[in-house]
């Protein structure tokens, strides 16, 4: 039974899952969802994801939404497939570290970087004006997050340890787009972050997916097509998470 993935090849959240599928050497069918025509906001798509976002995975009778729940499911079900052990299930401490840095991507990195990508790359495509104050505020936050990453990556080769994992993989889509903005120096100026980025972005599974990560005419896709351009979460409440 073939895995079906509903989404688009330039959508950050869809590609997050596609990279995982390729890392696990899994065959799948990519079923395009016409975000431009708002197919995601109508039945029957809403029956698959009531939040009206891509991607959705169908595996036999199972339908799953939320890209990071999908990658966790695939990494666990197919833990012995492909070349990478993405979740380190045989070692409790390692698997715990993967969980920690996956949550860091979700709650510290994604809300900030997605705003920058949305404002700079997506807003103009969908006929909205770029809000530079949003970009500036998030660049400052991103710098602080990347300082923590640079320090972490001076101790370990990858985020969860000396092994590539889902935690690193989840960063690929938005970072790829971010590196096309005028502010890629935030990565380049931090030597350990740069080395990490060069390494993970050169993996064959990602290279296969990156080929499709282009914006054509007609908008929709990109960073924002998965719903909102990132999670918001703009209070500086230290207790927030």
């Amino acid at each position: 039974m073939v895995l079906k993935l509903y989404g688009l090849p330039m959508s950050t959240c869809t590609t997050r899952v596609m990279i995982c599928l390729h890392e696990k050497d899994l065959e799948f069918e990519l079923v395009p969802v016409d975000l431009f025509a708002q197919e995601n906001k109508k039945p029957p798509f809403l029956a698959k994801n009531p939040f009206g976002k891509v991607p959705v995975l169908e595996d036999g009778d199972l339908t799953l939404f939320e890209s990071r729940a999908i990658t966790a499911y695939l990494a666990e079900k197919y833990k012995d497939s492909g070349s990478s052990n993405l979740i380190r299930h045989e070692n409790l401490n390692e698997s715990a570290a993967v969980k920690v840095w996956s949550e860091v991507e979700s709650h510290e990195y994604d809300p900030v970087i997605s705003q920058i990508v949305y404002q700079h790359l997506v807003a103009p495509m969908v006929g909205k004006s770029t809000d530079q104050t949003v970009i500036d505020a998030n660049l400052e936050k991103l710098g602080k997050v990347l300082d923590v990453y640079d320090s972490r990556l001076s101790n370990t080769k990858y985020l969860a340890g000396d092994f590539f994992s889902l935690a690193d993989l989840h960063h690929l889509p938005y970072t790829f787009y971010f590196m096309k903005t005028p502010w890629a120096s935030l990565v380049y100026d931090r030597p350990h972050v740069k080395a990490w980025w060069d390494d993970i972005s050169s993996r064959p599974a990602f290279q296969r997916v990156a080929v499709g990560m282009v914006f054509g005419g007609g908008g929709g896709g990109g960073g924002g097509g998965d719903g909102d351009g990132g999670g918001g979460g703009d209070g500086d409440d230290d207790q927030k998470k």
Binding site: P50, F51, L62, L64, F65, E66, R68, A69, A72, Y73, E76, K77, L92, N93, S95, A96, A97, K99, V100, S102, E103, V104, S106, H107, E108, P111, V145, V148, S151, R152, G231, G232, G233, D234, G235, D237, D238, Q239, K240, K241
Partner: protein, 221 residues
């Protein structure tokens, strides 16, 4: 006998209380170590060693140090699968676990952002004598209302979010929702919807959550 795990942070922190609720559901012994955030203890070097983003909670179990409340909860459930509420993270059923992960993600990506802003604006800002931002409040009230429309439909199909058993996915919602209902006085956000109201009443009266609320009350006295 295992050494109790350590949780660092004040119990009134939403993220700390998420971990406490999970530990109580799983019957795992813990020691709560207060962190004085008003004095900036969470930004000091000793604390940054175990939580480099300077946030609470941090967690230690024997030799391992963790942070991010939702990863701590998953770790607790996996390490102590046979203790306390065995089905909290799906037990031995990978499909149940996938559904729970899906709704934990929905909480983290869709419920948490707007509800966090509202908790800060309506519950914490007044206490900290900070000005509220009416635009942010309105924007996030609207966002949260849309999310809860989805929840209303979902909870008409199943008793809890991930299925017919209480799970980590429901638990993850308790901290922010509790502040909205009590301190922010916005109970109608949940009560105005039939299924969401039913769900809230059920999850918020669990023994484990009642204990967390007691801990919060004790700490603030």
């Amino acid at each position: 006998m295992a050494t109790p795990v350590k949780v660092y942070g004040p119990p009134m922190s939403t993220a700390v209380s998420r971990v406490l609720a999970c530990l109580l559901e799983k019957d795992v012994q813990f020691q709560l170590i207060p962190i004085n955030m008003a004095k900036g203890e969470h930004k000091k070097p000793e604390f940054l060693k175990i939580q480099p983003f300077g946030q609470v909670p941090a967690f230690q179990d024997e030799s391992i140090s963790l942070f991010e409340s939702r990863s701590i909860c998953r770790y607790i459930c996996e390490k102590h699968a046979d203790k306390g509420n065995k089905g909290l993270y799906g037990g031995t059923n990978p499909l149940a676990k996938a559904s729970i992960d899906q709704w934990i993600e929905a909480e983290g990506q869709s419920f948490n952002p707007p509800s966090s802003v509202l908790v800060f604006q309506l519950a914490f800002a007044p206490r900290m004598k900070l000005n509220q931002d009416p635009k942010a409040i309105k924007l996030n009230e609207d966002k949260l209302a849309k999310v809860l429309e989805v929840y209303e439909r979902r909870l008409g199909e199943s008793r809890f979010l991930a299925g017919d058993e209480f799970s980590l996915a429901d638990l993850s919602h308790l901290p922010n929702a509790q502040y909205l209902v009590t301190v922010a006085d916005r109970a109608e956000i949940f009560a105005s919807k039939k299924n969401v109201g039913r769900w809230w009443d059920e999850i918020s009266t669990r023994d484990s959550w009642k204990k967390v609320l007691e801990m919060q009350n004790t700490a603030s006295n």
